[in-house]
Symmetry: C2
Subunit: 251 residues, 2 copies
DNA sequence: CGAGGTCTTGACGCAGATCAAAGTCAGTGG
DNA sequence: CCACTGACTTTGATCTGCGTCAAGACCTCG
């Protein structure tokens, strides 16, 4: 749980692995000095594509989601943003109702795009860290495309649980516990599944003893190996999400 | 067809709209001076994730595709790369057999990642252009996720045709003609469909008079309006892909 | 304790996958 | 120039995973 000493009002439960790029860089300080700290409540909408001056957001804690709704379709959840991730509206597709929404309470830094770019050209190390960070987010996006495009419903659900475990999980007596900051419907939107179908799949996974639910928004993975065996992408997900030392190690 | 005067051995047929970010920047010259020009033949594999020194590629002409195969699955085609696009292996997901492959003959610039980053920190304008370019590619990736996750087979196929038309199309007597640089199987891998199903869908679209095939790798869109009407994302695709002046204008 | 939202579960239908066979095209060599 | 070959594509028949609709159960909060 290596978090930057500076902004310390994070909630332990939701801290994932150390956000890599933008935390390795000590140039981070320069960013913080110019940024406005923002505290977002669950369901709070932070940015809509194309209003007013453009801002850059850096996630410090919590979980954010990027939502969009193609015309005449039900909403989709296109990406999850974890601590360390960077967001600006030019990263979003030109779909209607594209927005950044807090899935849990979250801390962010906000700064005008112009300021942000000024800092980048002034600080080469920060620039390199940012490039790495953006590449990471792009890789995750492609991974999600591969997931949605190539896997069965059950494999998608398993992959999602693996991702959450890697990001939000903490070891406990009976396995790895984590908060699920999304509703069933939101998870379904993320996995390109129907909520009913997803519910069925989850029941099946629970039935197999891979995990148990403890309260509506809490789950414990009881059989990590078994869960990983459900997803062809388990190994890749681990590479992608668990770079911190304190994660449930190598499947 | 605003192409950089310097590298002029491009094939007219495959030139899409002006690649935006990395062409607006006149800082481009600095890149070209340090890059090795590469000519790739169809099916040539350019980069595999994680071999030797890391290179950055800039697409100058032609079409490249990013392929990957999740373990035990048939190959997937995760992204298309058009002139102006930038590639490096850190952008790819950690899936097996991830590679950059030329879908048509193509020209590229190759330069070591270190050199590339050096240029970026030296040239603020180039840095800004690159940021814009990467954001663009990210937006396209998210768009594709939305496509694969939320649309029916027919809508996906229509969207793909719209994309190709915007990128590769040239006006002709009976409509907008373009080369299709991918086989049916590859298109299917891109759209997360079965080749058989895709073939059926294409027949249906042809039957409705939206397009005709002229030779195995060539098509003419006869009813642009009608084609756009088939895809809920038509408008967004136009925003995303047609920033050049000589494109078939606003649906 | 009751009301409203969220989640689960069953019955049913359809879009798209799969399998198999025939058709089409480009390139090759006679 | 034409027949041959092998890869690609189309099309039909059948199957199935997932979406849809609807009823009921379950939490959570007033």
């Amino acid at each position: 749980m290596i978090t930057n000493r500076a902004s310390r009002r994070t909630q332990p439960k939701l801290i994932g692995p150390a956000p890599r790029a933008l935390q390795e860089a000590d140039a981070l300080g320069a960013l913080r000095a110019r940024a406005t700290p923002i505290r977002a409540r669950r369901h709070q909408q932070l940015a809509v594509a194309g209003n007013g001056t453009e801002n850059v957001y850096v996630v410090r804690s919590g979980l954010l989601v990027m939502k969009a709704s193609p015309p005449g379709r039900h909403r989709q959840l296109l990406a999850l943003l974890y601590p360390g991730d960077v967001f600006r509206s030019t990263l979003t597709p030109p779909l209607p109702a594209t927005a950044l929404v807090a899935a849990s309470a979250a801390d962010l830094w906000r700064l005008p795009a112009v300021t942000f770019e000024g800092l980048l050209s002034a600080d080469a190390e920060l620039g390199r860290a940012l490039l790495q960070q953006l590449a990471d987010q792009q890789a995750r996006c492609l991974m999600h495309t591969a997931l949605v495009g190539g896997m069965s419903g059950e494999e998608r659900a398993a992959s999602f649980l693996i991702e959450l475990t890697l990001r939000l999980g903490t070891k406990c007596a009976t396995g790895i516990a984590f908060e699920v900051p999304l509703s069933r419907a939101e998870i379904a939107e993320y996995l390109a599944l129907n909520p009913d179908t997803l519910s069925r799949i989850m029941s099946r996974l629970k039935g197999r003893g891979l995990l148990v639910q403890t309260g509506r928004n809490r789950a414990v993975v009881q059989d990590w190996q078994g869960l990983c065996a459900q997803s062809p992408m388990a190994e890749a997900l681990i590479k992608l999400h668990s770079r911190a030392a304190d994660r449930p190690a190598g499947c």
